[in-house]
C-alpha cells in the first residue's frame, strides 16, 4: 500500500517537475540570499574586531606640531588612558619608477622593537625596519601591490628637501590604514598614496624631532569616557600645536570601513528578512495552491480506503521533498556565495586574515522559516482536502460562483471586450490571491530597485563632486604658507598648467550658541570660482562673498545656524584672531571632507590672519596631453607635500563602485529568480483552473494569441499594479539604505534615475513574459476535444 503511494509520489514529483523546480528555485534563492548576506556581514564584523584587537588599534588620535616626549607621560596619567604611543608622521612626495604622476607617501615611525605599541604593523612579507636602518621602509601592502613593488624594490622620496633613495624591506598592513588617501581627497587611492614605516630615529633627525613627537595615539581602559579623555588631551597638547584629538569613530580609515560595513548591514538588515519573508510567503502560497489542485487525487485515495493520516503524510512528503531540496541548494549555494563575497570584501579591505563564519543559527533560521511557511501553506489546504468526504473530494470543486463586482453593482460598467472582462472578474473574484501574487511581484521589484537606486545615488554623488564642484585636474598642497603672487606665478609657469586657482586652508574652532567644533576654513578668491567651488543645490555654484562666510549644510545643521546668523571663529594659526562673521549662504556637502567646511574670501582671511598675502595650495587645470612633464616637475619640488589628481580619484571611485555593481547584479539575479517562481506558478495554477474556459475559447474560434491574452493579460494586470508599488517600495528602501549609509564621511543624497526604474521594470516584465510564455506554450498544445467533452 505504501509502496504504491511512494511510486505515486515519485510520479507526481516527475509530473510537476517544472512547478516543483520553480518552487525549489524560489526557496533556494531565498535561503541563499539570506545565508549569503548574513554570513558576509558576520564574517566581516568578526574579522574587523579580531584585526583591531590583535594589532591594538588605538581609541584616541591627535596630531601636534611638535610635542616633547614628556607630554606623553602627562597623557598617560589621564584617567581612563591605558596606553600611549607617540610617533613621527609626515606627508612626502614620492618618485616611483613607472608612475608618472606624483605619488604621496605618509612616513610613519615604526614602533621600537621593545615597545608594546598601539597601531601595530602586521608583516605580510619581509621584516621590520632594523634600528638605524636609515634607508629601509616597510611599505603598506595595498600601495606595494598597486605599484608592483615588493621586498627589495627601491624608490625616491623627497624628505625635508632632500631626495633620498629608500628600499622596501617588508610589506605590512595596519588596522589604522585600511582606507586612506591624501588628506583632502574623496576616495582612497591605493596607487597614489602609500604608508611607509621607517626607523623613528631616522625620521626624528630628518624632521628635527629628537626627543619629541608630532602624532599620538591613546588606548583607553574599558568604560573610559572618550570625550573626557579628548578634552584632557586637548588641554595638554594645545600649547604644542595640537589640532584637536579625535576618537576612533572620526578616524578616517575606521569611519570609511565602518561606513562600508554599516551600509552592508543596513542593506542586509532590510534585505535578508525581506528575501526570507518573500520566499516564505511564496512557499506558503504555492504549497496551498498545489494541494488545492490535488484535491481530486486526495478524494480518490480516500475512496480507496487510505486513512487521513497516510494521505496527509503522502502529500507532506511531497512538500518536504521540494522544500528540502530548495533549502539545501540555498544553504550550500548561500554559504559558497557568502564566502566568495566575503573574500572579495576582505581583499578589498586588505584584511591580513579572514574569519569566515556562518553561525548555525543563520542556517537554522533560514531553514525553519522556510519549512514553517511551506508546511503551514501546504497543510492548511491539505487539511481542508483531507477533511472532505471522499464523495465530495472526488469531484472537482464546484465551478466558482461569480457575481458582479462591487464596483459594477455600484453602477460602474467594466470596460473592454469580454476577454478583458473575464480577466478583471477573475482577478476581483479572488482578491486575496491576486493581491498576494501582485505583492510577490512588488516585493521582488523592491529588491530590484533599491540597490540600483543606491548605486545611482553614489554615481550621482561622484558626478556632482567631480563635474560640478571639484573640477580641477590636480590639487597641490604646499608644505607651508607661501606668498600668493609668486607661488601662483610659479605654478602657472609649470608645464601644461592652463589655470591655477589659489586657496588657503587653515584650522579654526567654530562656535555658535553652545556648539563648538574644530573645522577647516578655506579661503578662496571672491565670486564664483572656475575650478573648485561650493554648490548651492545639485549643481549651481555658489559665489564666495566678499564679507561673511559660506558654511556647509551639515555644519549649519550641526550648529543649528541659518543664513544671517553670526558665527564665532577662533583661528589656530598666525595671530590666532577671534572674529564673528555672518553666514551669507549654505552650501550642499555630500562628502565627509566638505561636511565641516567653511568658505570665505581669501583676501579677507589673509587680512584677519595678518601674515600677509599667502596661500597653502592651488587647484590646477592641466592640459590633458601635457601632464608628464608637470608630474616630473612636481615630484622634484620639495615645497609640495601633496598632489592629488582628480582623474585618478575618479578612476579609484569607479573601481570601488564596480564592487557595489557586482553585488547589485547578484541581487538582481535573486529578484529575477523570485519573480520567475511567483509568476510561473501563478500562471500554471491559473491555467489549471481555467483550462476549460480557454479550450472553449479555442473552440469558439479564438486564436492562440487571443486565448493566451486571458492568461498573460491577468499577469500583465497584476504586474502593472505591482510594479509601481514595487518601485515606490524600492525608493523607500533605498532612502532607508542611504540614510543608514550617511555618516561623518559620506552623505549619500538619494537620487534615482529613470533608467534604474526602467531597468528594474524591464527585468520584471521580461521575467513575467518568460514565465508566462512557458505556461502559454501549454495552451498551444491543448487537446481541445478531450477538455471540451470531459470537463464537468
Amino acid at each position: 500500500m505504501t509502496r504504491a503511494l511512494n511510486i505515486k509520489l515519485m510520479r507526481d514529483f516527475w509530473r510537476m517537475r517544472a512547478q516543483a523546480l520553480a518552487i525549489v528555485l524560489v526557496t533556494a534563492a531565498g535561503s541563499a540570499a539570506f545565508v549569503m548576506l548574513l554570513g558576509t556581514l558576520h564574517s566581516l564584523e568578526q574579522t574587523q574586531a579580531t584585526y583591531y584587537e590583535r594589532y591594538r588599534f588605538a581609541d584616541i588620535f591627535d596630531n601636534v606640531r611638535r610635542a616633547p616626549d614628556a607630554r606623553a607621560v602627562d597623557l598617560a596619567h589621564i584617567a581612563g588612558v591605558r596606553k600611549v604611543t607617540t610617533r613621527i608622521v609626515y606627508n612626502v612626495v614620492l618618485d616611483i619608477g613607472g608612475m608618472s604622476e606624483p605619488v604621496n607617501g605618509l612616513l610613519v615611525s615604526q614602533p621600537r622593537p621593545d615597545e608594546d605599541a598601539l597601531n601595530n604593523i602586521y608583516i605580510r612579507r619581509g621584516r621590520l625596519v632594523q634600528p638605524l636602518g636609515t634607508d629601509e621602509v616597510v611599505m603598506s601592502e595595498t600601495f606595494a601591490d598597486a605599484n608592483h613593488l615588493d621586498v627589495g624594490s627601491s624608490f625616491y622620496a623627497v624628505i625635508k628637501g632632500h631626495r633620498r633613495k629608500l628600499t622596501v624591506v617588508g610589506i605590512g598592513l595596519s588596522p589604522e590604514y585600511i582606507f586612506f588617501g591624501v588628506p583632502g581627497t574623496m576616495v582612497p587611492d591605493d596607487q597614489r598614496f602609500g604608508v611607509l614605516w621607517m626607523d623613528r630615529d631616522t625620521l626624528a633627525s630628518a624632521f628635527d624631532l629628537r626627543g619629541a613627537f608630532n602624532d599620538v595615539s591613546l588606548g583607553l581602559t574599558p568604560g573610559a569616557n572618550a570625550q573626557d579623555v579628548i578634552d584632557r588631551v586637548d588641554a595638554i597638547l594645545e600649547p604644542c600645536g595640537g589640532i584637536g584629538a579625535y576618537a576612533r569613530k572620526d578616524h578616517v580609515s575606521h569611519a570609511t570601513l565602518n561606513g562600508d560595513i554599516e551600509q552592508l548591514r543596513a542593506t542586509i538588515e532590510v534585505a535578508a528578512p525581506l528575501f526570507l519573508g518573500v520566499v516564505a510567503f511564496l512557499l506558503n502560497m504555492l504549497m496551498m495552491r498545489h494541494i488545492e489542485t490535488e484535491r481530486e487525487s486526495i478524494g480518490v485515495l480516500k475512496a480507496f480506503g487510505y486513512s487521513n493520516q497516510s494521505v496527509a503524510w503522502h502529500y507532506a512528503k511531497l512538500v518536504l521533498v521540494i522544500v528540502v531540496l530548495g533549502i539545501l541548494a540555498g544553504l550550500v549555494g548561500g554559504a559558497w556565495l557568502g564566502r566568495m563575497v566575503t573574500q572579495k570584501y576582505a581583499a578589498n579591505y586588505h584584511f591580513p586574515f579572514l574569519q569566515y563564519a556562518i553561525t548555525t543559527s543563520v542556517f537554522a533560521e533560514a531553514a525553519v522559516v522556510q519549512f514553517g511557511a511551506a508546511l503551514v501553506g501546504g497543510f492548511g489546504s491539505l487539511r481542508k482536502a483531507v477533511l472532505l468526504q471522499p464523495a465530495v473530494a472526488i469531484r472537482p470543486p464546484p465551478p466558482p460562483v461569480y457575481k458582479r463586482t462591487l464596483l459594477e453593482r455600484m453602477g460602474l460598467r467594466l470596460f473592454g471586450d469580454q476577454p478583458t472582462r473575464m480577466i478583471l472578474r477573475h482577478v476581483l473574484r479572488w482578491p486575496v490571491r491576486s493581491g498576494l501574487t501582485a505583492l510577490g511581484i512588488a516585493l521582488a521589484t523592491t529588491i530590484l530597485v533599491a540597490p540600483l537606486a543606491v548605486l545611482d545615488s553614489a554615481k550621482h554623488m561622484v558626478d556632482v563632486h567631480f563635474f560640478a564642484s571639484e573640477r580641477q585636474d590636480l590639487t597641490v598642497a604646499f608644505a607651508q604658507t607661501r606668498a600668493s603672487s609668486p607661488a601662483l606665478q610659479a605654478m602657472s609657469r609649470e608645464p601644461g598648467v592652463l589655470q591655477a586657482e589659489p586657496f588657503r586652508a587653515t584650522l579654526a574652532d567654530v562656535r555658535f550658541g553652545a556648539r563648538q567644533r574644530r573645522i577647516t576654513v578655506l579661503g578662496r578668491p571672491g565670486g564664483v570660482n572656475e575650478l573648485s567651488r561650493p554648490l548651492a543645490g545639485q549643481s549651481e555654484p555658489l559665489g564666495i562673498p566678499s564679507a561673511g562666510i559660506v558654511i556647509s549644510n551639515t555644519l549649519a545643521e550641526w550648529l543649528g545656524a541659518v543664513k544671517g546668523d553670526f558665527i564665532e571663529l577662533h583661528f589656530l594659526e598666525a595671530r590666532r584672531p577671534l572674529v564673528r562673521l555672518p553666514v551669507t549662504a549654505i552650501a550642499q556637502a555630500h562628502v565627509g571632507l566638505a561636511f565641516f567646511m567653511l568658505h570665505m574670501d581669501l583676501d579677507r582671511l589673509n587680512a584677519l590672519m595678518g601674515d600677509g598675502d599667502v596661500i597653502t595650495g592651488a587647484h590646477l587645470r592641466v592640459d590633458a596631453t601635457d601632464r608628464e612633464p608637470l608630474y616630473d616637475q612636481l615630484k622634484g619640488t620639495p615645497s609640495i607635500t601633496g598632489a592629488v589628481s582628480s582623474t585618478a580619484q575618479l578612476a579609484a571611485m569607479h573601481r570601488i563602485m564596480a564592487q557595489t555593481t557586482r553585488m547589485t547584479i547578484l541581487l538582481v539575479a535573486f529578484a529575477a529568480a523570485i519573480v520567475f517562481g511567483v509568476v510561473y506558478n501563478s500562471a500554471r495554477i491559473s491555467l489549471a483552473e481555467r483550462v476549460g474556459e480557454l479550450a472553449t475559447m479555442r473552440m469558439l474560434g479564438f486564436t492562440r494569441p487571443e486565448v493566451a491574452y486571458i492568461l498573460l493579460g491577468e499577469l500583465a494586470l497584476l504586474t502593472a499594479v505591482a510594479v509601481p508599488l514595487g518601485c515606490l517600495g524600492g525608493y523607500l528602501l533605498a532612502w532607508k539604505l542611504t540614510e543608514g549609509t550617511s555618516n561623518e564621511m559620506f552623505r549619500l543624497p538619494l537620487f534615482v534615475t529613470r533608467a534604474s526604474y526602467g531597468y528594474a521594470i524591464l527585468v520584471i516584465a521580461g521575467t513575467v513574459l518568460l514565465s508566462g510564455a512557458a505556461v502559454v506554450l501549454r495552451v498551444f498544445r491543448f487537446d481541445l476535444i478531450g477538455i471540451l467533452k470531459t470537463r464537468e
Partner: protein, 237 residues
C-alpha cells in the same frame, strides 16, 4: 449559400488514433453529402465514430485519409490557423457540457462569441431566440442546467454560423428541459437557415430531423429521410 447545394461533402473519410494498445479506427471510410440548410441527426452507440465525424466537420480534428469538403474547400488540408478562422467564421458548437465562462453573464457569454464574428447577431437578439432575454444579467452559477445550455445555443448561433454542430446537447438534461433546448435549436435554425448536425443517443430526437444517419463501428450503418419532421414539443422520451 444555396439551399440544396452541399454544405459538406465527405469522401472516404477515415480517422485512426495511435494508442499504446495499437491503432484505433474511429472512422473507416465515410461518404456523405450534407445539403445547405439540412437538419441531420446522427445516431449510434458510443465509439461508433459520430463524435469524431462531428469534430472533423467542425474543424476541431482532421481526418487521417479522405476528404471533407466545406462548400468545395477541402478542410483536411487546412493549417491550424485556417481551422481556427473556419471555426470562428462558420461553425457554432453546442456540447453536452455547457462550457460557459463562469465569470461572464449570460449576455456577456453570447457577446464573447459575437465580438469575434464578422456579421454577428445582436447578443440580446440571440438570447431572445432561445427564450432567455429575461436572464441576460445572470451568471452561469445562477442559471439552471437547461438555461445554461440555451445560453450555449445562443452563443453558438450569435455569430450567424454556416453550420451548427451539437454533440449530445440534451444528454445532461431531463426530457422536459431537453425539449426546451431542442426548441431553442430548432427556432434558431429556422430563423437563420443554418445547416445543423446533432448527435444523440436518443432515437426519438431523430423525429425532428430532415434526415437521420446511423453510425456503427466507424461506418454509416443506415440512413432514413424524414419527410415530415416534427416539432420538438411533439417529441417525448
Amino acid at each position: 449559400m444555396t439551399p440544396g447545394e452541399p454544405a459538406f461533402t465527405a469522401i472516404a473519410l477515415a480517422k485512426a488514433y495511435q494508442t499504446e494498445a495499437g491503432e484505433v479506427h474511429a472512422l473507416r471510410g465515410i461518404d456523405l453529402e450534407l445539403p445547405e440548410g439540412e437538419f441531420l441527426v446522427l445516431l449510434g452507440p458510443s465509439g461508433s465514430g459520430k463524435s469524431t465525424f462531428l469534430n472533423i466537420l467542425g474543424g476541431l480534428d482532421q481526418p487521417t485519409t479522405g476528404q471533407i469538403l466545406f462548400r468545395g474547400q477541402d478542410l483536411s488540408g487546412y493549417t491550424e490557423r485556417e481551422l481556427t478562422a473556419y471555426r470562428r467564421e462558420a461553425v457554432g458548437f453546442v456540447f453536452q457540457i455547457y462550457n460557459l465562462m463562469p465569470s461572464l453573464t449570460a449576455l456577456e457569454n453570447v457577446a464573447l462569441a459575437a465580438e469575434i464574428a464578422r456579421d454577428p447577431l445582436d447578443p440580446e437578439e440571440a438570447l431572445d431566440l432561445v427564450g432567455l432575454a429575461n436572464r441576460r444579467g445572470h451568471f452561469p452559477a445562477e442559471l439552471s442546467g437547461g438555461e445554461q445550455q440555451r445560453v450555449a445555443v445562443a452563443r453558438a448561433i450569435a455569430k450567424r454560423p454556416d453550420v451548427l454542430l451539437c454533440d449530445e446537447p440534451t444528454g445532461a438534461l431531463d426530457s422536459r428541459t431537453g425539449i426546451v433546448v431542442l426548441e431553442a435549436i430548432a427556432r434558431a435554425r429556422r430563423t437563420l437557415g443554418t445547416t445543423t448536425v446533432l448527435i444523440t443517443h436518443n432515437a426519438s430526437i431523430g423525429g425532428m430531423a430532415d434526415r437521420v444517419v446511423h453510425f456503427a463501428d466507424g461506418r454509416i450503418a443506415g440512413m432514413r429521410v424524414n419527410d415530415s419532421p416534427r416539432a420538438p414539443a411533439e417529441l417525448s422520451w
